[in-house]
Symmetry: C2
Subunit: 615 residues, 2 copies
């Protein structure tokens, strides 16, 4: 492997238990509510019975197996966090159903085998076969070491062997790659879990053949201008310079590129991935870490095109994919900028997608909502319990239990605290067991205390987020100039980090015309939003006073510890109810109150706005 | 007929010859450039040969007959304006080809008969059969009195008889109505031209059966939530309160409703149409008269959702349809507000769709464009000569030659000057011939002189546009308090109207958050836009000084008489090239220059913005 590529790892699921006020309750509600509801939905909708390959009608959609696999992956993580007999039974019973559907040659897809055998490997652009296979592989890797997990792991290895026997440039194989990426990163996971290089090579093949000519799909499935862009297949992946097309597929592809680069030492592939990421986060990302500016094909559009209303998208799944990608890029480069994006997406664009109760979801995460309109989230300005394509609910099922693994990166002798949310962790650093505790009120409070609970030698690295302009660090009470502590630790050693966390007035680059003349409020990593229920006047008639000392205040109806941002504002007195008018508006002084964006719409229906006018 | 419904008529095409600086050259270029180019395209693309019903491949699309019919309708109007032997030959030769395709039972559609006979009347939702039939009827009515025109007129009567024999609620007929409205208004035209009430009844049927349950389309063509909304079929038309779905289809439907109401005296139907229009122009219309806020299904979205960038639509065809609808509603109600919308759309959202040279088109009329992006107008921020679905170019072919008919409304004893663009007209008012001349520099100059050229009795009504706050009127030099002159006219009588026409700073209702903190400039009926080529700095970095005396100036490179609006502005000095930042920007004084929106992108590629920031 090329030595310029670093390879940080993450703690296994179950090794990090949150004690903070944001992540801990989210993980908790995922186990108590999100996963059980998804299990019920999968069973009652026929997704599990579908593996019987009987009773086709109404039981199957071409993407159903991916939902099942994603929930199963979530179950595996949940079992690692908190063993649960009933859930363990579900885990094994689902695996039994799934493997019963495997064909003698290794093929495993309930929709194709049960409803459309003639389409097997024939409609890669539309039928999500490789996508479903990818999720099944991820579920199998996640559950490999659990009771009954080996059965599925062996089955997906046979399935991957089958896929490898079909696709490739070698004589006797055919060319092909998925319309929806996912298999690439899954195959690298499978390679790591099995040691079988065949899977890594297949992942490389899928990445490198993508976008080459002649196109592998029949022309009639490819019949509109722009479809190749939507599928990240407009040119070979290594020639793509910007983040484009369907946003979820895009970040899955880029994650696959990073994973392949990590294993092959392909620096050029990693650099291309970094180049695309640079375009993504500097020109095509919402302030919340949302990505995908348009509902139309759930896609990126062009640089600085970041509209806020009902036409935008910012799919929950895409932000979860972005967290995964940013995490990978940090692990391979050690560049802190990736953690800034990861943290932004995590605390804002991801968590906004799920209700505090864990059972309702935004498919799209708007930055501005009119509560009276039905043009949001497939019919309402409120989160929904399920969708006909429930990719977002099932993504949360598998994403939230993994949260703990994102907050640390680890090498043989280094520990990085990526996000200092309070937690208790049992880590393995170069073979030595390290118990660690992080306490403090992050992200509402910038004071963080890291306590090492046993002795050992490793370098502890604290991250200074890009939003922080002033900070101080102390080791056992003594001020330090560095955020890196490479030393022999004793039990009870404490590192204290104090991040200055004032309310900041944020502006957009003027090229983002959707935000021109508007400001957003941030405090620490949190983006704030004005919900109409907290204001005296409609949010659209409010202008925030730019130059003032903003106050932070407790707010009722939201989790304990939540801080609202409050201050002076102006109310625009409408000179007319016409759509367009020439009269000059007048203003009266008033106040405003903003809540963390991720927490909006947890107290009933309300209009909301992130980018507000100012005066 | 119910007496509360008025019935103003319009001068026939050819009776009004423009001498102004805006419409005259547009009509001229349509005849010299738009129509000849469309004729060539129709012939070279196989649209005319398609009527042979041979050589299917590559020759047909299900919407081709509508293009042919629209161009043919334009040819008919062109021949009435300026007889031309070669064009007359085209007119007759096309008619020969078209009628040769008519089936023994009257059916006439080259795509279905030639390529998909099994689909005849089976796929009304998608295959545009009734839509194509409607345009063919409109072409036939337009050309009825020209040499050779009777052949087509008789053919479409037979075709309409056939359609009437197929569809309806009567025993032996089947239910059905079009996925794309148009046949409704066409059948009313045919009823007026033929006197055959059967066509009026069929139009009423199509309108009243639309949106009723059970739905006439098979479920698998109707398989996504919202499709019924897109097709204006979510409920019966008489229960629809707002403008929704595909914008072109919507305004065609509403025009059909108005036309049926006009003939049947159905006041309730007219009132419903007015209610929908009220929603359209007060909550869902761009300041330019553009309609349809999203590329997605080319559709309306929700109230006050009027985004400006690449995701918006504002199709040229939709604004032309809006002009037609507004004109109809004025004729039936006499309410001046409809003319305000008609004028706005005409001078802005319609004319922006076509280049001054008459041969390039915007499909969508954006209010804000980044010249470097390919996310506009199917691939470029510039007008295109043709589109794979060329509905807009062919709409201009038939719309511009009719312009003269929109500017006057006439009853037995009343003449309304709807838009006072300079022209010479030969009108028929209650049987008496009236020669009229309007002179002046409208819309750049508010001074308008109407000269009656022969004696006669009728009431002349001048319109005071809603944008005008101060005006004066004189009859033969004497000041008048009224804009209505009911008198016996003598040759040489002059009415002079002076409309005050300052530059106005326009704001949006704050519910249109896309425009919050922004202003637009208007002068008279013209909306102005900043094109980057006229500025010292990128338009996105400019803030217009709100309170100033704006100047009007001549501008080179645009038609003589064009006035630009100029004044002071501020240039934002960027504190950062980051996407989001907390630094406070600084400003330096500069100047700006705005041009009429309809004329933008006639001097090369350029970024553009209608709603600009201000200070």
């Amino acid at each position: 492997m090329n030595t310029v590529i670093k390879r940080f790892e993450h703690p296994e699921t179950g090794r990090v238990k949150f004690t903070d006020g944001v992540f801990a309750p989210r993980v908790d509600m995922c186990l108590k509510s999100t996963i059980p509801a998804a299990v019920n939905k999968a069973e009652s909708s026929g997704r599990i019975d579908a593996f019987d390959l009987k009773n086709y009608h109404g039981l199957r959609e071409y993407f159903y197996d991916s939902d099942t696999a994603k929930i199963l992956e979530g179950i595996a993580y949940a079992l690692k966090l908190y063993p649960d007999e009933k859930l363990q039974q579900t885990f094994q019973s689902w695996i039994g159903k799934i493997v019963s559907c495997q064909q003698p040659d290794g093929y495993l897809n309930s929709y194709i085998s049960g409803a459309a055998p003639q389409d097997r490997w024939e409609k890669l652009n539309t039928l999500h076969e490789l996508y479903c296979a990818g999720h099944l592989i991820e579920a199998a890797v996640a559950g490999k070491d659990l009771p009954g997990g080996k059965t599925l792991f062996d089955a997906v290895c046979r399935y991957a062997d089958h896929i490898d026997s079909i696709f490739g440039l070698e004589e006797g194989k055919k060319r092909g790659w998925p319309g929806h990426e996912e298999i690439e990163l899954a195959l690298v996971k499978l390679y790591r879990a099995s040691g079988n290089e065949r899977y890594l090579k297949l992942a490389s093949y899928f990445i490198d053949d993508r976008g080459t000519e002649p196109c592998v799909f029949p022309a009639d499935e490819w019949n509109f201008e722009g479809m190749k862009v939507v599928r990240q297949a407009d040119k070979p992946v290594r020639e793509q310079d910007d983040a484009h097309g369907h946003a979820v597929r895009a970040v899955y592809l880029y994650t696959g590129m990073a994973d392949v680069a990590a294993e092959t030492g392909d620096v050029k592939l990693l650099e291309q991935c970094e180049k695309i990421f640079d375009n993504l986060c500097k020109k095509r990302m919402y302030i919340t870490g949302g990505i995908g500016s348009t509902f139309y094909y759930e896609a990126f559009t062009c640089d600085y095109d970041l509209t806020n209303g009902s036409l935008m998208y910012a799919e929950s799944c895409a932000s979860m994919g972005l967290v995964q990608l940013a995490s990978r890029l940090f692990d391979l480069t050690g560049k802190s900028k990736y953690l800034d994006v990861m943290e932004t997406a995590l605390y804002n664009g991801v968590l906004s997608g799920i209700s505090l109760s864990g059972d309702k979801f935004f498919y799209s995460n708007y930055l501005e909502v009119d509560e009276n309109s039905s043009f949001y989230n497939f019919g309402s300005a409120e989160r929904q319990p399920w969708f006909s394509c429930p990719c977002c609910p099932t993504s949360f099922s598998r994403f939230l239990p993994q949260l703990g693994s994102f907050i640390y990166s680890i090498s043989d002798d280094e520990l990085f605290v990526n996000i200092p949310a309070a937690n208790e962790a049992e880590l393995l650093i170069g073979g030595q067991k390290v118990s660690l505790e992080i306490s403090g009120g992050y992200p509402y409070d910038g004071k963080i205390i890291v306590t090492v609970k046993n002795s050992g030698r490793f370098a502890l690295n604290l991250r200074i987020p890009s939003w922080c302009r002033s900070y101080s660090v102390r080791l056992n009470g003594e001020k330090s100039d560095s955020c890196r502590f490479d030393r022999l630790w004793e039990a009870g050693d404490k590192v204290e980090l104090l991040l200055d966390m004032p309310v900041e007035v944020i502006r957009s680059n003027p090229k983002v015309t959707s935000n021109s003349g508007r400001i957003a409020l941030k405090r620490g990593p949190l983006v704030y939003a004005l919900e109409e229920i907290d204001q005296k006047y409609p949010v659209r008639e409010l202008l925030i006073e730019e130059k003032q000392e903003f106050k932070t205040e407790k707010i009722s109806g939201l989790p304990e510890g939540t801080l609202a941002v409050c201050g002076r504002a102006y109310h625009e007195i409408l000179p007319s109810d016409e759509l367009y008018f020439s009269a000059v508006p007048e203003y009266e002084e008033t106040v405003f109150c903003a809540v963390p964006y991720a927490l909006w719409q947890n107290r009933g229906k309300s209009s909301m706005c992130v980018w507000n006018r100012c005066k």
